[in-house]
Amino acid sequence: MMKALKNSILVCLITLGCFATAHAILPIERLDSFKGSKGYLVQTKALPMVDIEVSIDAGHRFDPSGKSGLADMTAGLMNYGVKSDQGMLSEAQIADEIADLGANISLSVGGERTILRIRSLSRKDLRDRAVKLTAAMLSSPTYETKIVEREKQRTITNLLEAETKPEFILERRFKKSVYGNYPLGTTPTIKSVAAVSVNDLMQFHKQFYRSDRMIVSIVGDVDQAQANEIVQTLLQKIPQSGASIAQLPELQRSPVEPLAQREIQIPFDSQQAHITMGMTAVTRSNPDYFPLLVGNYVLGGGGFVSRLMAEVREKRGLAYSVFSYFAPGKDTGIFQAGLQTKSDQAAMALEVMSSTIAKFIADGPTPSELLAAKSNLVNGYPLRIDNNRKLLDNVSSIAWNDLPLDTMEIWTKQVEAVTLEQVSAAFQKYLAMDRMKIVVLGAKNK
């Protein structure tokens, strides 16, 4: 039983500041450009291991109309059968090889990008085998009909289960509201998953899995020459480019609307009501990112000490978890806040959450709140970069969002430079209560 939920922690962080003495900030090295890809390395020698990430510009937002879930399945089925240099490898052989190497290979698909990660011991023979296997997965998945059908059925069964869960229904409806016509407004359904064919998977893979859409980030016990070799092995068999891909629409700012059009009530028979609100916001490269980051720490990002936590939980005991965050991507970004409360308290909890956010947009933080926020972010910066996994998260974000390579070195300075006026101005510029989408699920009137 944790005292608070993880999602009260800001999702979008990156980078490193300067702290003293023996622990200089580890530099990000640029690797040789190979076949139109980009590559980055941070060398850490203390442990005999290496983390490798391939970011692919092939997220959910490229799902074709009516086939939502395709990006997910294209990635998720890469390790269920491949053509390799040694011939065909079955899903069982791939799984056994990964296990025998003591390696981990994971795949995840987000709105903007698909991420493949390898964690391996850095010993050359083991590392080489892990990299070669991954290269075959990336370039030559077989998408065998029998396996595709099995996994489609499993996905559908999972979706049917998810559709009985309050948090899933809430999130699906919120996405539809906040993203509107942007492709991220559509999420997988039974029908859209059922519509995906082997041919769709092949096509999607061919279209999007190209080296000019890939970024490789490496952290661990390898030198630059070894890192370059890893990139080349990974991308050797992948085509550099392909047919042009249609431009996605711009994400339109959430419009001013009367409450009745922005707020959705979903009847649901559960003990708790789930409530969320939010709107479109900023990308990671937006110059107002830092004022919003610092401001949100005060509003709902700062663990047990935020205003939302104080008003909703500490003062009134209305919820276990309450949070707000900005989720800035490369091309899109949203703001979202949420909580869960006993179903007959929904109206009160929504009122407290709304008025807390409204007041913050109108008045901004107090000088002492701003100081406390900066103090936490600056003093806590070392905790954002104190192991290989966290360094990889940072490098990966810098690379994906096209941020300067010294981003980690100047991060704390950028936080320190934020003023009260900047926070207020940024919140007023990007957020507005008459634009907030609201979804309330399972509310009961007393």
Binding site: K45, T157, T164, T189, V305, G317, G380, Y381
Partner: protein, 455 residues
């Protein structure tokens, strides 16, 4: 679900010698016993200028008594509500001000509190944590609000979560007398009737230096930190602790079954067998190690036995998980849980699980399967050292179970000596109906089913 092999920390690879940059655990770890009975364990890790500071109390939900279930966890919440010197909420504000991350967690076996900070801030959080070991002072109004928060937590995690409801019923059915039968969060009625005095009694009984272990990992100088710990924790008086009754679960005499009806789409099945745990002082008993390896042979990687046969080949279940934790204070349980594939029944799933287990019991396992698992265990130990916090967690959970961190090396060596025959033997001996509890989730349509969007 994965087995808890991960908690064993160590540093060599089975298949071939490797020269490690890192030094061995025993060199980097230091243990001290303060005169008031507080145990301090320091793991040096100088890769980054950060520290994890954890304070573990050997008091979890298994130490609760009837009518007061959940009080260990409620007290965990109240620990943030002020001391004689630090007012309510101030603890978190002070930790936040130094850039710290903090939280706390309660299990059946223990309650633990932690902060992660940049190393120069360590003294500050030691001072705060030591203060609330003996000076907690919250008022009734704070309790009345916080107990509402805890009930919201129970609604979120259990009442509206069919898998949790199933697990809760499984534990309450498998155990008749062991306090492991109660949920950590407590029964709702006990929470509704809990008083501030119950939480205060709990604190007075169990929060004492002689019932605590402080674990610090990260970029620290052990001698210097020892002085700081002496200064702040060392002044706290030791207490006589309540007598812990053994409450040993009587032997089970046959299959037990329980059904839970809750809103869901797929049926779920959980099969749980009573098995031994690793007992302090009996580290040469091969059975717990063999059970850990059996867990991984069944479910340790994507092509492990149950995933391969039940999910991929027979397509009788949609997902499978196997769990066993040999490191615990209370009795051991070996758990297989599955959710049904579309159109398949509980009976079919149970038959398939039994068939897979019978096959293993009769034919044993391959040397190559076991070797694969052992390699994974070893490489996981390297990966785990990437996390400063994870290292403190491992030391703390092991110590709470009554096993010294110093034995972790030995436990790992023992694990590597286990043979396929020993794995087969524990399957034959323990995965039998005599000690089996079966829990079934019978899915119900929700009364106000929302229209399925986009269909």
């Amino acid at each position: 679900m994965r087995s808890n092999l991960l908690r064993i920390c160590f540093l060599f690879l089975l298949c071939a010698p490797i020269s490690w940059a890192a030094s061995s655990d025993s060199v980097d770890t230091h243990e001290f016993l303060l005169s008031n009975g507080l145990k301090l364990i320091i793991r040096e890790d100088h890769r980054a200028p950060t520290v994890a500071h954890m304070t573990w109390y050997r008091a979890g939900s298994m130490d609760e008594v009837n009518g007061r279930t959940g009080v260990a966890h409620v007290l965990e919440h109240m620990m943030f509500k002020g001391t004689h010197k630090v007012k309510s909420g101030e603890f978190s504000r002070l930790v936040a001000a130094v850039g710290g991350r903090e939280n706390a967690f309660t299990s059946r076996d223990y309650t633990a509190y932690f902060q992660q900070v940049e190393k120069s801030k360590l003294d500050e959080v030691i001072k705060l944590e030591a203060d609330r070991m003996s000076n907690l002072n919250f008022d009734d109004a704070e309790f009345l609000k916080e107990i509402q928060v805890v009930m919201e937590e129970r609604r979120l995690r259990t009442e509206d979560n069919p898998s949790s409801l199933l697990n809760e019923s499984l534990m309450a059915t498998a155990y008749m007398s062991s306090p492991y039968r109660h949920p950590v969060v407590g029964w709702m009625n006990d929470l509704q009737n809990m008083k501030a005095a119950d939480a205060r009694d709990w604190y007075r009984s169990w929060y004492a230096p002689n019932n605590a272990t402080v674990v610090i990992s990260g970029d620290v100088d052990p001698q210097q930190i020892l002085q700081v710990v002496e200064k702040y924790y060392g002044v706290i008086a030791m207490k006589e602790l309540p007598v812990r009754k053994p409450q040993i679960e009587p032997p089970q005499k046959g299959i037990k079954q329980v059904q839970v009806r809750a809103p869901a789409d797929s049926a779920q099945l959980a099969m749980a067998w009573k098995v031994p745990r690793l007992e302090p002082g009996k580290l040469d008993d091969p059975e717990p190690y063999a059970l850990e390896l059996l867990t991984a042979v069944l479910d340790g990687y994507d092509n492990a036995r149950l995933n391969r046969t039940l999910v991929k080949q027979e397509k009788v279940v949609n997902d499978v998980g196997v769990a066993y934790d040999m490191i615990s204070r209370g009795p051991g349980l070996f758990l297989i849980s599955v959710s049904m594939a579309k159109g398949k029944t509980i009976a079919q799933a149970q038959a398939s699980i039994r068939k897979a287990l019978d096959d293993l019991k009769q034919k044993g396992i391959l040397e190559s399967e076991l070797k694969r698992i052992k390699v994974r265990i070893l490489s996981d130990q390297i990966y785990k050292r990437d996390s400063i916090f994870g290292q403190a967690m491992e030391i703390g959970t092991t110590e709470m179970a009554g096993i010294s961190w110093k034995d972790i090396d030995y436990i790992l060596k023992k694990m590597q000596t286990i043979t396929p025959e020993q794995v087969q033997a524990v399957a034959k001996k323990y995965l039998v109906d005599e000690g089996l509890t079966i829990a079934v989730l019978d899915p119900q349509a929700r009364k106000s089913e929302v229209s399925k969007e986009g269909k």
